[in-house]
Amino acid sequence: MDDPLIVVALLLVAGSATAAVAVRDPARQALVLAVLGTVLAVLFTVLQAPDVALSQLAVGSALTPLLIMLSVRKVRRPKRREETER
């Protein structure tokens, strides 16, 4: 059985999930979430669930980061506006 593979995948997911919680800044958290998505997809593939892995890849690699980063940009814009010379 390919236990070492499953153990590595589980450790990666555990590591990136803890990092996602530990990082506080939303923009940096979006980065960690993107990596968490990729690693989760690898875990689902290792556990022989390709459909779930495909869903995670499709949503987690480009759609979720775009939604989070657009929200961060909208929330941060007024504050950023005073810093720049506008």
């Binding site: 590595v8 590591g15 990136s16 990092a19 530990a22 960690v32 890849l57 775009l66």
Partner: protein
């Protein structure tokens, strides 16, 4: 645990493990590069798994990751352009090393797959993977210099 899955385990443990550490700590420029490299390393790992499990349908997973991984990095490059403008990431050595690793994996899996339509599909995945990786790192290091309003 044939050779392919051992290689996949090594790629995941060393490569993707390092990117998880890179994305969780350090300056922003290193984090975005780590995010880009995480997809560029996970895709060859998926190819190795599809060959190790002898399931050609898993190549669709690697195809999708090779296609959407760089798009995710473009999203970060585009929307973090102000934060990255201060010190743009300059790690071309690492990017080329990961691209070379991806190419090696694609060639190995192609040799194993033998001459057929599947071989062409693997080459398409390889082209998307390496092209995406290089374009995304190009975008990170100043591709969106001109855009201010996102």
């Amino acid at each position: 645990m044939n050779g392919w899955t051992v290689a996949a385990t090594a790629a995941l443990a060393v490569g993707v493990g390092a990117t998880v550490w890179g994305v969780a700590t350090g300056p922003l420029r290193r984090r975005v590069v780590a995010q880009n490299l995480s997809t560029s390393l996970a895709c060859p790992a998926l190819l190795l798994l599809s060959e190790g499990y002898d399931r050609p349908s898993y190549v669709d997973l690697a195809l999708l990751l090779a296609l959407l991984g760089p798009v995710g990095t473009l999203v970060f490059a585009r929307l973090l352009v102000e934060d990255l403008a201060a010190d743009p990431p300059r790690t071309w050595g690492l990017t080329y090393a990961v691209a070379a690793f991806g190419a090696a994996v694609v060639i190995a899996v192609c040799v194993a797959a033998g001459p057929s339509r599947a071989l062409v599909k693997l080459l398409v995945v390889g082209a998307l993977l390496i092209g995406g990786n290089l374009t995304a790192s190009r975008a990170l290091s100043g591709g969106f210099a001109g855009s201010r309003r996102g």
